[in-house]
């Protein structure tokens, strides 16, 4: 007569306990709610330079030459796709001397399709004037980002048109570092020709040396003017020769952009492929808490799986490690 029913012993069996715990965990997945938690999102205003020099094709994608603007768009779309839900993006254009806000910050997951479409539709033909006074545009873009309470990503190649007066970076009127963000230098390091378009938007060649202003001749002449050929204080204060130079060619003006970044407390990054903005922005962006949810079920499931595997493997493992009494001897 067995006084103790077999299940008493079964209840004490470690493998039974493991399986029962796994069962409890598997059942718990149906009831455990996702854990609310705060994730770090970003709020960012992206301002894209759409002036003529951004049409320079010194990037390559898929074996084809790619313009700086297209490369910048690809990078922004990559950035958009990688932002955590709850992050918000605003988009602006830059040309002339000011940014133009296309739309106020929008949540990126719910509105992904229109945001992606709006970035894809950026075009140099949207430019309302042909100047490219980047320093002024950047300062106003920083002010705009401050107004709408976002960080700033300012994509430009740094080519000022007309050129800045030699060595004269105007003072920054805002407070450096009050708006955080990134100046993104677009373009290759070597000089490339700038495509020229006619009034119907068709490409008609490249800019030549005499097509663009090579030197800023507004305001007082530079200090070295006296030594120039044909200098006359009244009739030829900048010298008699036409200014020559390479302003009709374009490369990324990194020293200028880095100086601008220092002046305004932004960081600098070089645009180098679609994924090149993600890490630099993450490094400088203001972390703003966005509501996220952590699904606990994978953790419960993983624990249950470990328990089940342990229950199945207990016997073979023990047989391997220590020689339990074999059936033959019993």
């Amino acid at each position: 007569m067995s006084a103790r029913p077999p299940w008493r012993r079964n209840l004490r069996d470690a493998r039974f306990r493991m399986l029962a715990a796994a069962l409890a965990l598997a059942l718990a997945t149906a009831w455990v709610p996702p854990l609310p938690l705060t994730r770090t999102g970003v709020q960012v205003l992206a301002v894209v330079d759409i002036t003529g020099s951004m049409n320079v094709r010194d990037y390559a994608a898929g074996g084809q030459p790619q313009s700086r603007l297209e490369a910048a768009k690809a990078a922004l779309r990559h950035l958009l796709a990688g932002l955590p839900c709850g992050s918000r993006l605003a988009l602006g254009l830059f040309t002339e001397r000011r940014p133009f806000l296309l739309f106020a910050p929008v949540e990126v997951c719910e509105n992904f399709a229109p945001l992606d479409g709006a970035i894809a539709a950026l075009d140099w033909r949207m430019a309302w004037e042909a100047d490219s006074r980047i320093t002024a545009g950047l300062d106003r873009a920083i002010a705009m980002a401050g107004e709408i309470g976002t960080d700033l990503v300012f994509v430009t190649d740094g080519q000022e048109a007309p050129p800045l007066r030699a060595g004269a970076l105007p003072p920054f009127e805002g407070q450096p570092g009050a708006v955080r963000g990134l100046i993104v230098g677009a373009g290759g390091y070597g000089l490339s020709p700038i495509p020229k378009y006619n009034d119907r938007g068709r490409e008609t060649g490249f800019y030549g040396e005499t097509d663009v202003q090579q030197e800023n001749r507004f305001g007082p002449p530079p200090a070295d003017a006296e030594s120039r050929e044909g200098y006359n204080p009244r009739n030829a204060p900048f010298g008699a020769a036409a200014a020559g130079g390479t302003e009709h060619l374009s490369s990324v003006r990194e020293p200028h952009l880095k100086a601008l970044a220092d002046r305004t407390g932004l960081a600098y990054a070089h645009l180098d492929g679609p994924a090149s903005l993600d890490a630099p922005l993450r490094a400088v962006a203001t972390r703003s808490p966005v509501a996220g949810r952590l699904d606990l079920r994978p953790y419960l499931g993983a624990a249950a799986l470990v328990l089940v595997l342990a229950a199945f493997l207990a016997a073979p493992l023990r047989a391997l490690t220590m020689r339990v009494p074999t059936p033959r001897k019993a």
Binding site: M1, S2, P6, W7, R9, N10, L11, D13, R15, F16, M18, L19, A20, A22, L23, A26, T29, A30, A90, L93, R98, F100, L101, L102, F103, A104, P105, V106, E107, E110, N111, A113, P114, L115, G117, A118, A121, R125, M126, W128, E129, D295, R297, P298, G301, A302, A304, L305, V308, L309, A311, F312, A314, A315, P316, V324, P325, P327, R328, A330
Partner: protein, 349 residues
């Protein structure tokens, strides 16, 4: 058909599925105690025991498979279902020239005064989202047209685009190219939905005759209902005013833009608003006019299948746990009443 159906299934962590071979483990190992038995051949073959053993193996496989699948986070992708609602495809073309930042009296706004841009921002913002199935596209124009948002049903994004319209405007009013881009916002595939082109501007400009021809062709092709919300500044010429001198487009651009619109042979109405109330009334009227059915796409959210996977795992685990509870030791079983059942259990092991 079948591959398309299969392609809708996915997993959040697909790499976890590499653990699936672990599901074969129950075929070679069992979670039951070892029993001392000289030779299995000594037991007569018992179909019930065999079936029980098979069942428990299957339960083990099911438990491991279910858990691995559950951890991988399986789902069935959301469906896009086309339904019909009341609404329209609205392409908004908004003037962002500098004068939009003045009041209806033509001054810089001061105190409680509202600029034309701020009034249209407020009223258009209410318009967007008042009906769930409207689609909107936003185009801005000054000297050049700017595509702000492509046609979308995400009203938050549209409102964000409208929020931006009372920021300082740009230079001039070049309505011709703006109209061309706003027409381009209507998708080719939208079928027979009602299309609305809503032009919000406080002035007009001469449209280049060459551009006029292009626009005529585009209007004839797309056939939108055209509404011109003309924010008229006090004292400036209205749509219907004939100029005192020569009646040329240069002298009265508003009147000639109106004439051009009338000559397009598309349904057209102009609203001349001289204050925020008039703008609101015009928008209400447009809303009531556009009451046609529109096909819209409803995105059904994706279905999470992890719960089902865990359910299968739990079912397998229930069987394993019950088997574990019913486990009988040979030595004790022989001594007790369960002697008759004991061999079966061992066979199952």
């Amino acid at each position: 058909m079948l591959p398309a159906e299969l392609a809708r299934f996915g997993a959040e962590r697909p790499w976890v599925l590499w653990l699936l071979p672990l599901a074969l483990l129950p075929l070679v190992a069992a979670p039951r105690r070892r029993a001392a038995w000289a030779d299995l051949a000594a037991v007569p073959p018992d179909p019930f025991s065999r079936a029980l053993a098979g069942l428990l193996r299957a339960a083990g496989c099911l438990a491991v498979t279910g858990l691995v699948a559950g951890i991988a986070g399986p789902y069935r992708a959301g469906e896009r279902v086309t339904r019909t609602g009341i609404g329209a495809e609205v392409s908004m073309l908004i003037d962002r020239s500098g004068s939009m930042n003045e009041t209806f009296a033509g001054r810089q706004p001061s105190g409680a005064e509202e600029s034309k841009a701020a009034a249209s921002r407020r009223i258009l913002g209410d318009f967007v989202g008042s009906r769930a199935h409207d689609l909107f596209a936003v185009t801005a124009f000054s000297t050049a047209p700017m595509l702000v948002l492509p046609m979308t049903d995400r009203h938050d994004a549209v409102r964000a685009a409208i929020t931006a319209i009372d920021r300082p405007g740009l230079d001039y009013t070049n309505v011709g190219r703006g109209l061309a881009m706003a027409l381009g916002q209507f998708g080719a595939a939208s079928g027979d939905a009602s299309r609305v082109l809503l032009l919000v501007s406080d002035g007009a400009a001469v449209i280049d005759p060459r551009v006029q021809d292009t626009l005529r062709a585009a209007f004839a092709k797309i056939r939108p209902n055209l509404y011109w919300l003309f924010l008229r500044t006090k004292g400036s010429p209205g749509i219907a005013d004939r100029p005192a001198g020569e009646d040329t487009p240069q002298a009265a651009p508003e009147r000639h833009l109106d004439l051009f619109f009338k000559s397009l042979r598309v349904p057209y109405r102009a609203f001349e608003a001289e204050g925020p109330e008039a703008v609101a009334a015009a928008i209400r009227q447009i809303e009531s006019l556009e009451r046609d059915p529109i096909p819209y796409v409803e995105v059904r959210p994706r279905r999470d299948l992890a719960g089902r996977a865990y359910g299968f795992a739990a079912f397998g685990l229930v069987l394993l746990v019950l088997a574990k509870l019913a486990e009988v030791d040979l030595a004790r079983g022989r001594a007790g009443q369960g002697a008759a059942r004991a061999p079966e259990r061992r066979m199952a092991a």
